[in-house]
């Protein structure tokens, strides 16, 4: 307990500047206005663009958003419900749909929990310690972002395929990685690896190591330091990373498509099933699954906004 209260002061110091910074941004122009005489020209608000231009910019942004974001979403839901609510739910409860939903949840659970561990370890190593090759490690973490997902999938085919590097050994021991759950999980982990680490590294770097040093000097063990100092400090950032990681894990198509083998009721995830159903002229069923993915995206967006607000507010609330 004493440990916590000791730390509280330092956290408050770091975080306290945020509200004042906001005030500073708002206050100077209002002061300026008071000083200025009220002429006709100054009636036009000098802080922003003229009204027509403002209107134009906002309208352009809105049109763009409508065409590229809102319209497709509406189409997805409209197509999904085009033959009524019953057809929608029948489509979602088909064995093939249930199996795809189950597989997608399973893959997301595996890849998010593993990436949570890897991500925290990687971010911890990078932000709290100095070592040779650190920049190289950061580049490596970012690699999945820059590699095409198809390549990410093919890498695993080359490694674990029957003609691949480990293929003969795996075949001899009757271990199935490719075209089965492990392969899909591996490809998804690879593609979603950067999310947690990327969300944590800047946060942990900003926080520095003083708090941990203080904890250690007060006699806390390594694990105690992690669970009682580091983890509470990064928890919103961590959740943010997990959220994005999960969204990508459930939505990944390219890499999974390469390693899936497309076995019905077995290795088709939701995104793969959307394509399959579409190609079978089952448009309602296809868009019904797509609407689940769209809802996932919407929920992710809402939770992301909440988390971002939490991150901005700092962790004062959670620290006490």
């Amino acid at each position: 307990m004493s440990l916590q209260s000791n730390l509280a002061s330092s956290t408050t110091q770091v975080r306290a500047y945020a509200p004042t910074a906001d005030l500073n941004v708002v206050s100077p122009p209002s002061q300026r206005e008071k000083v200025r005489p009220h002429t006709a020209a100054s009636k036009r608000d000098l802080r922003t663009e003229p009204r027509p231009i403002r209107f134009l910019i906002v309208a352009l942004a809105l049109i763009f958003l409508t065409v590229f974001v809102v319209l497709p979403l509406v189409v997805v839901f409209a197509s999904a419900f085009s033959r009524g609510v019953t057809a929608y739910f029948v489509a979602l409860t088909e064995p093939e749909a249930l199996s795809a939903i189950w597989l997608t949840l399973l893959i997301a659970a595996i890849s998010v929990s593993l990436n949570l561990i890897f991500g925290v370890i990687a971010a911890w190593a990078i932000s709290k310690f100095d070592f040779a090759g650190k920049t190289f490690l950061i580049t490596l973490i970012d690699l999945p972002f820059s590699v095409s997902p198809v390549i990410s999938g093919l890498v695993f085919v080359l490694l674990f395929g029957a003609q691949g590097f480990f293929g003969p050994w795996l075949q001899a021991h009757n271990i199935h990685i490719l075209f089965a759950v492990p392969g899909i999980a591996l490809a998804t982990i690879f593609v979603t690896f950067p999310f947690v680490a990327r969300a944590l590294i800047p946060l942990m770097q900003e926080q520095g190591t003083q708090e941990e040093e203080a904890a250690v000097s007060l006699g806390a063990s390594g694990l105690q330091t992690f669970f009682r100092v580091t983890l509470p400090n990064i928890k919103w950032g961590l959740l943010y990373g997990v959220l994005l990681c999960n969204a990508r894990a459930m939505g990944e198509f390219g890499a999974v498509s390469v390693v899936s083998g497309h076995i019905r009721n077995e290795t088709n995830t939701m995104p793969l099933l959307v394509e399959i159903l579409y190609n079978e002229y089952q448009f309602v069923a296809s868009f019904a699954i797509a609407s689940l993915l769209a809802m996932l995206a919407l929920i992710t967006l809402v939770v992301k906004t909440i988390l971002e607000r939490r991150l901005d507010e700092g962790q004062m609330v959670s620290d006490d």
Partner: protein, 329 residues
């Protein structure tokens, strides 16, 4: 909260692990056979259970014929492959997974159902397309997939070539004809189903070169008032072959049931399922029954005109082959 989630999770678990059967087969097939094998698998499972009392679950995987063969080579545990053309099965056989004499192990070149290449046109046939010649007329947009990736597209290409060679009598003129034809192709999709969607759903093109069964299916799905099938007087006999993947079946101990599965195609029931799904049945009796469903088309085989798949593949579709030459210009 947990009490509410648990039944849901249990339900999903059940859905994931349901239908545990005595035997399980994986059939790796090509794109347009989805509906065909949905019917056939159900019928076979019922027949097998009636005969032996054992239940069998058949899992399906569909995709472009070439990429499906690749997946089996890379370790997809298929007990049987049912692909679009013999060359793709040969590719799997070349890796030692299937015995080299696979095409002799089942009757009729191991192809119990056949198909051909026809034209699907828009209602009223506004461009007046009747024969292969009409496809090279200026202003006719032809939709066909990429023969590099799609089995169906290779049949399309070879059908056009075979027609031209028979009509003009020389390979050079056939090459010119096929080159002109591909001048009229605005987009090459990677698979047969992709091309159908391009033509039917997106409304691109005047004529779709398609598997006969695929053309019938599109007509069934979207209505006869939207599309018409035009069968040219001369086309190719497409023989999509079946084979047991010996390496996998022997390892899994499923050879006997895999054999029973493929042989079921040669029964009356199997042949009828093929005919109902607009594949041409081999059995003369069933063929006679469904005579009216299929247009009379003079059919030539790939062996007649091209000397077999290996030769055709090498000459036409390999890197730097004739297709590469004509599509570049």
């Amino acid at each position: 909260m947990i009490r509410r989630i648990l039944p849901l999770v249990a339900g999903l678990l059940w859905a994931g692990s349901a239908f545990a059967a005595d035997y399980s087969l994986l059939n790796v097939s090509y794109d347009p056979t989805r509906e065909l094998y949905a019917d056939f698998n159900k019928a076979f499972a019922a027949a097998y259970q009636k005969e032996t009392g054992k239940t069998v679950e058949i899992k399906q995987s569909h995709g472009g014929s070439g990429s499906q063969a690749r997946a089996v080579i890379d370790g997809l545990q298929a007990d049987v492959v049912t692909l679009a053309l013999a060359y793709d099965v040969d590719a799997v056989a070349a890796k030692g997974l299937i015995a080299p004499d696979w095409q002799k192990r089942l009757p009729q070149n191991a192809a119990p159902y056949t198909s051909t290449i026809v034209f699907l046109v828009r209602k009223g046939n506004p461009k007046g397309i009747k024969d292969w010649d009409d496809l090279i007329k200026p202003g006719v947009a032809v939709i066909t997939p990429n023969p590099k990736t799609s089995g169906g597209a290779r049949w399309n290409y070879l059908a056009a070539w075979g027609y031209a060679q028979k009509k003009f009598g020389s390979a050079d003129k056939a090459k010119k004809f096929v080159a002109d034809l591909y001048q009229n192709v605005p987009v090459l999709d990677t698979g047969a189903r992709g091309s159908t969607v391009t033509f039917v759903e997106r409304g691109v093109g005047d004529v779709l070169l398609a598997w006969e069964n695929e053309a019938f299916l599109a007509q069934r799905e979207f209505g006869k008032d939207k599309f018409e099938i035009v069968s040219p007087p001369l086309s190719i006999l497409a023989e999509p072959p079946l084979a047991i993947v010996d390496a996998v079946a022997d390892k899994k101990g499923t050879r006997a049931i895999a054999e029973a599965y493929l042989k079921y195609w040669y029964t009356r029931e199997g042949q009828e399922i093929a005919a109902r799904n607009s594949y041409r049945p081999r059995d003369p009796e069933i063929a006679k029954e469904y005579e009216k469903s299929f247009a009379k088309v003079e059919l030539f085989t790939i062996d007649d005109v091209f000397g077999g798949w290996t030769k055709a593949q090498k000459e036409h579709f390999a890197e730097g082959g004739i297709f590469d030459q004509i599509y570049k210009n």
